[in-house]
Amino acid sequence: MKWGVVRFPGSLDDNDSLWALNEVMGQEAAILWHKDTSLQGARCVLLPGGFSYGDYLRCGAIARFSPIMESVAKFAADGGLVIGTCNGFQVLCEAHLLPGVLTRNRTLSFICDRVHVRVENARTPFTRAMRQGEVLTLPIKHGEGRYVAPESELRQMEERGQILLRYVDAEGRETDDANPNGAMHAIAGVANDRFNVFGLMPHPEHAVEAMLGGEDGLKIFRSIVESAG
C-alpha cells in the first residue's frame, strides 16, 4: 500500500517511519516534502515525530502552515486516513484536524521511556487489528505530550469512542504513576469524530523489531493496511 510520510524541516522520525513501513513491513512509503502539495497517491499520510521548525513557538504551530498541510487537510476532509505521531499529533491539533492541544509534561522535563497503553476502541481503522482492552508497550519521547481539552469536549469524545489509547500500567490499570505526562483522562491517542484522523504521543514506528525492544507498533500499522490497503 502507498504511504506518504511528511518531512517538515526539523522532522526526526521521518526516516524511522520509512524504515518501519518499507523495510520491516514491505509497504510503499515515500517522503512528502513540506513545500510540495502532492500526496503522490498515498492511501495514508503519516506526520512523523520531531521538532518541526524547531518548535520554538508552540509545538506544531508553524508546521501547520506548510503547503503540504493544505493538501493533508483536504485529504482528511475527503475521508483519507491520516496518522500523526508525537510532533505529528501536535501538528494535527494545531491544524484543528484533531481536538485538544498538547502542553508541557507535568514533570516539566523531556521524558524518554517505554509505556503501556490500553486500546480503548478497537473498532477504528487505526486499531482494528487489536483487541479491545489490549495493552501495548510503546516508547514515548517528548517534552510536550500532556493532552488537554475542555472537560465538556472530553466527555463527548469519551462517549463517541474517540479516545483510542490510554496510559495504563503493565496490568492494564489506570494509575497516576502510569500516566507519564499528566494527560487529561490519561489520553495517549485520540481520533477525530469521523475516525479517519488519529494522533498519538507514543511512537509505533519505534516498536517494530524485537531486537529494538518490541513489535507492538506493527499492530497499528497493520490496522491501517487492513483498512485502506
Partner: protein
Amino acid sequence: MSNPVCLPGEPRVDLPQARAHGLSPDEFRNIERILGRTPTFTELGVFSVMWSEHCSYKSSRKYLRTLPSRSELVVQGPGENAGAIDVGDGWVAVFKIESHNHPSYVEPYQGAATGVGGILRDIFTMGARPVASMDSLKFGSFDHPRTRYLVGGVVGGIGGYGNCVGVPTVAGEVMFDASYNGNILVNAFCLGLARSGELMSARASGAGNPVLYVGSATGRDGIHGASLLASAEFDAESESKRPTVQVGDPFTEKLLIEACLEAGRTGAIVAIQDMGAAGLTSSSSEMAARGAVGIDLDLDKVPLREQNLTPYEILLSESQERMLIVAQRGRERELQAIFEKWDLHAVVVGEIIAEPRWRARWRGQMVADIPVGALADEAPVYDRPARPADSRPRGIACAPVRQMAAPEAFKALLENPNIASKRWVFRQYDSIVQGNTVSGPGPGDAAVLRLKHSRRALAIKVDSNPRACALDPYLGAIATVVEAARNVACTGARPVGITNCLNYGNPERPEIMWQFAEGVRGLGDAARALGTPVVSGNVSFYNETEGRAILPTPTIAVVGVMPDAARRVASFFKNPGDAILIARTNPPRLAASEYAAMFGASDEQLAPIDLNREAALVDALVGAAEAGLIRSAHDVAEGGLAVAIAEACFNPDGVVGAEADLAALGLTSTSELFGEGASTVVFSAATGDVEQVTRLFGSRGIDCRTIGKVTAEARLRLMPIIDEDVRALRDKYEEALPGRLAAND
C-alpha cells in the same frame, strides 16, 4: 601588495594589548618577527585565538605525537576533524569526544548544548551522519550550592540540543566529587556512520575554488570563547565571561546536517570544516594549512545578524551552526541550491589562492595578511617543565577510616550518587531516534547499536577514573582505558578504536604537566597493548578555580564491533539456575574506591596492572560471547563486587536473585567486597557451559571461578554478609539520585 590597515577607532596594538589577549611577550615578539611589522588589531585577535592553548595544543602536542594511531582498520587518524575506523560491511565509524567545560560552568544549559552541537559538526563535516552521542559529566559535591543548578542546566542543555537535532544519547557517565566544585566537566562524544570511500576532507586545494559560508548568520556571541574562556583558569570574575558562551540552535543544526550530507553526495565539495572554536578564522586557516594553499576572504559577504560588526568580531565570532566549504569552481550554484532548499545561507565569501597567505578584506581594505603556516603548524609548541608534586596528591576525597558493618556499607554504596541509577538523567534524553539502539542507557556496560542492512553491531562506552588518576596518573589512565575496553567487551564486541578527552589543570604548573605527561603515557601504553589506536581526541587544560585544579581526568571512549548483533551479551542475569562466575586479573584494593571516599581506607597505592593480562581478559570475553557461552557479563566498577552482583540482579524485565557462599570462597574481606581496580567481570553461564567457559578463560591465563548461582527468588544472598530483598535494593538504587537532587540540604 600593501600592508593591511588598522581601522579608525581600533585599539593600539602593543605588548599590554597582546597580554590582554592572552599572548605572552615572547609570543608577541614572535608574531612581529613573522610579519616583519606590528600586527593590526584584527591580526592580533586572529593570532590570539589560533595560538591559544585550545586551538594550538601548544603544551600537549609533544605528548600527543607519542600515541598509537594506526591499525589495519584505521581509515582516518588524528589530523582531520574526527577519526574514522572501518567497522565492516561497507561502513566507516567516525568519532570524537570533546570538552565544553568552562562554558558549561558559566552558563550550563547553553554551554552543554553547544558542546553537543560542536561535536556533531566535527562528525558530519567528515561526511558521516551522526548516529549516537554519549556524555561524560563531572559535577561538584552535593554540598556545593551550585551543584544542583549545574546538573539541571547541563542535563537540560544536552537533552534540549540532542533531542531536537535527532541524534540519540545512548550512554554516558555522571560523577560527583568536590574537586569539580568550581570547574565541572562536560565531555561530549559523537559517532557517525559513512559509507566506505565517501568521507569528506578538510584539506583545501585548487587556486580559484570558491569558499562558501553556509548556515547561521554571524553575531557577536562567543568572541574569545577559545582563548579567554577555554584557555585560562577560573577566578572570581568568571561569571562576567558569560557573554563569551555561545547560544545553540539545534533546529538549524538539523537542517545543516541534512544539507551538508546532501551536498556531500554531489561530489562538488573539495573541503569542509565546521566554524567551531575561533570560528571563521580557524576553519579557513586550518583548511588552507592542510592543503598548503592560501585563502582570500571578503568579510563584506559574510551574513551578519546585526550591522556594524567589525572585521575583528566577524573573524572571531563563535556563533554556532556555521560551516565553511571549499567548492569546485563552477559548481557553487549546485551547492547553493541545496542549502537554499533547506532555508540556509550559502554565500561565496572568498577563494582559494596559490600563495600560502591568509588574507581578509573589509570594505575595500586589507585587514589581515598572514602566512598560513604561522596560524597552524608553526604555532608555538612548548616543552613545559613537568615533575611530580612533593606531597601526596591533594583533593582525593577519602574519609577518615572508620569501622563500618559490611551490610550497611553495601546499602550506603548503592545509594551513593556515583553508583546509583542515573535514570533521572538519561530519561531526559531521546535514546532511540534513528532506530538503531539495541541497548541504550541504563543497564548495560556499553551501548549497543545495530548497523542497518548488516548483522553487525557497534558497542560504545565512555569512562573515566579520576580518583585513580590522582593517586597515580599513569596507572589511572591505564585503568581507565582497560575499563572502557572491558565494558565494550562485556557486550561481546571487540574494541577497535579510542578517542579521548584529556581534562587537566593549568599546564604552566609542573605538577599538572607531569600528571598530563603520565596520563598520555598510560593512555598510549594501554592502547598499544589492546591494539586499539587513538584516532581522535581533545585536550582541555586550565580546569582550575583560584589555583585549585580538578582531579586529573582523562576521559576515554572506546568503540567496539561485534559480527552478529544476535550474539550480544546483556549485563544482567537472565536465567535462574545459571552459574555466576567471576574472572579477574588482580585482587581488588580499596585505594581510590567509592568505599574509601565514603568510609576511608588504608590502601594508598593502586595495584600494578599487567597489560597483557588485560588484553587477554578482553579477548576471553569476546571469545566467550562469540561462542555463545555466556548469558550475561558485567564489569565490576564503582562499589566493587557486591554492588556489581546486585546490579546484575536488576534485570529490567523482572528482577532475579543471586546466592553465593562468600565465606567458603574467601571473599569476605572489605577489599574483596568493595574494592575496585581489579579488572573483574561478573558473568553468568548455563551450568552445562561452565566447564568450557572456565577453560576458555583459563587458556588465556585468566583466573575464572564459579561463585554462586542465579535464583528465581528475588533475594541477594552473599553469605554470610548480605541477605537482602532485591526489589528493596533496586528501589534504593533507583531513588537515590532523584532524592539527592530534590533535597534541600
